[in-house]
């Protein structure tokens, strides 16, 4: 329970800190509008030349984009700032401050930062999602909604794990600035259902870099495409990846303490 209290405290400090920079809210709002606008134009372009993409209608794809933007907002608010901070700390040798605190190291480095104004992105993702869903023919049952919730949670965990594994690499390769561009680039693949990708790429964005997986599975839940086996598999996959990430983090940490001693 201490873990929850610590996370809550960091969240509170982060929010108070960000409230000093309220102009950032408008900047963020504009940026989200631009992002959503570009996505909508691309969508319109695609569907001006076809009626469905690999079995996905325009509305369904809009919901999928909604999920992608929503999850992206979550990443930018909670995950990415922490990982960037971690990378800087490793580079400048200031990670020791965090490591000397009497709390689980992985938890500490994962909850230190929050970029509150990015919440705008989460909201715009939700709006896209709902607008998309109103255009979808079938109605959404309670089971679908529950499955969506679970799948989204698993997706969040997967992305978090991916980021942390990559960032842990900073213990070995100190200069990793461009990893952000790498991730942002790969994250764009999540804007389309994984099934459009040719085999090798589909496997990559499903398992190697679980972006497609993290976005497509929740969207499938809402558009009633999801089979329960997939969901069970997703949960098991999420747990396995999380366990691996935790092991890898401690492995990297041992390497780090060994190297800097």
């Amino acid at each position: 329970m201490n873990a929850l209290r610590v996370s809550w405290l960091f969240l509170k400090i982060g929010v108070i800190n960000e409230l000093q920079y309220r102009v950032n809210f408008f900047v963020q709002l504009l940026q989200s509008l631009i992002q959503v606008g570009t996505a909508l134009i691309m969508l319109a372009l695609v569907y001006s030349h076809t009626t469905e993409l690999n079995g996905w209608s325009e509305s369904e794809l809009l919901s999928l984009i909604g999920v992608q933007v929503l999850l992206g907002g979550f990443i930018h608010t909670f995950i990415q700032p922490n990982m960037q901070r971690l990378m800087e700390d490793v580079q400048q040798g200031t990670l020791d401050y965090a490591l000397t605190k009497p709390e689980d190291s992985q938890l500490l480095i994962s909850v230190r930062m929050v970029r509150m104004w990015q919440v705008v992105e989460i909201v715009s993702g939700l709006i896209l999602l709902f607008v998309g869903l109103t255009g979808v023919q079938q109605s959404i049952g309670v089971a679908d909604a529950v499955a969506f919730g679970i799948a989204l949670l698993v997706g969040g965990v997967l992305v978090y794990c991916f980021w942390l594994v990559i960032t842990t690499g900073a213990f070995w390769i100190v200069r990793m600035e461009n990893v952000l561009e790498l991730f942002e680039g790969i994250y764009q693949t999540g804007r389309w259902p994984v099934t459009v990708y040719p085999g090798w790429l589909r496997y990559s964005v499903t398992f190697l870099v679980p972006i497609g997986f993290a976005v497509t599975v929740p969207a499938e839940a809402l558009t009633s495409r999801l089979q329960w086996q997939t969901l069970v598999f997703a949960v098991a996959f999420g747990i396995a990846v999380f366990a691996f990430t935790r092991w890898f983090w401690h492995y990297g940490l041992r390497h780090y303490s060994g190297a800097s001693a």
Binding site: L30, Q31, L45, L53, N54, N178, E181, Q188, T189, W200
Partner: protein
């Protein structure tokens, strides 16, 4: 005590400038070769973008009987693979770099020296290109093996393409540099830069070949600088442009380089005025 206070004589202007470019480019190559991993990260992240577009349009082309607006899957593949090279050429000293230059206090050092600021940026990034293109080659081969591009350029097209990618580099350097200097006036320029990039995305042929855009967008694109940094170089190699269109394109680039240079110069002298009055 022998004191020698005579001023050192000057070497030739063009000779010195040539030496400056050669040395800076060599410097850029040596230092960037030390950062292969981070360079590859950047490139792989960047490659994801065209691959996504390519996959989407190929899927549609296959569904619609082989072509969209007359563009076949193979032509899409050629477009987006050449895209990756053009995109690499289009990485210039833009907004994030200006932000860095100001934040890190780099500018004072540059201002103390008798050299126009644009030369530093043009020369360094031009040198970097050699590293980037060398690293790009294996990726291009890999993409070609997977996506089977249809590409059969003529000799003239290849020559025009080589000029066009450097033309694109210059055009984008001037405009991105100008936009980047906004950092002198505000620390919250991010939204403006995003807007600029979004407009570029849509009107340059970066998102989709301009042929897929509505007619009025294509017309508009002709009169803006963006198309000449993406769409034109790509199409000079993969498209079916006539000799006249090819040469006209190069002229358009030259025109935009001049306009861009003027904008850059005006903005820079205003930026310097601001910098020396507020300090850093």
């Amino acid at each position: 005590m022998s004191v020698d206070v005579a001023r050192l004589p000057e070497a030739g202007r063009w000779r010195s400038l040539y030496d400056f470019y050669v040395t800076t480019m060599r410097t850029a190559i040596t230092s960037q070769l030390q950062y292969r991993v981070t360079n590859y990260f950047y490139m792989l992240g960047m490659i994801a973008e065209p691959v996504v577009y390519l996959v989407v349009w190929t899927t549609i082309a296959d569904q619609e009987g082989g072509a969209v607006n007359g563009i076949t899957s193979g032509e899409f593949a050629a477009y987006y693979i050449v895209w990756t090279l053009v995109r690499n050429m289009n990485i210039v000293f833009g907004a994030p770099f200006w932000e860095w230059r100001i934040r890190e206090g780099r500018l004072a050092g540059d201002l103390l020296k008798p050299m126009y600021i644009l030369h530093y940026d043009l020369a360094y990034f031009a040198g970097w290109k050699f590293v980037v293109v060398a690293m790009w080659l294996p990726i291009a081969f890999g993409l070609s093996a997977v996506f089977h591009p249809t590409l059969s350029p003529s000799a003239l097209e290849i020559v025009v393409f080589i000029f066009a990618i450097w033309g694109a580099y210059l055009v984008r350097s001037m405009f991105q540099g100008t936009v980047g200097m906004l950092n002198f006036w505000t620390t919250r320029g991010a939204a403006v830069f995003d807007l600029y990039m979004a407009v570029e995305m849509l009107l340059s042929g970066r998102l989709v070949p301009l042929q897929l855009m509505p007619g009025w967008v294509q017309t508009l694109a002709n009169f803006l600088p963006f198309k000449w940094t993406f769409g034109f170089p790509i199409e000079s190699l993969v498209g079916n442009l006539s000799t006249q269109q090819l040469l006209l394109g190069l002229c358009a680039q030259a025109l935009w380089i001049v306009i861009g240079l003027l904008l850059f110069k005006v903005t820079w002298s205003a930026a310097i005025k601001r910098f020396v009055s507020v300090g850093n």
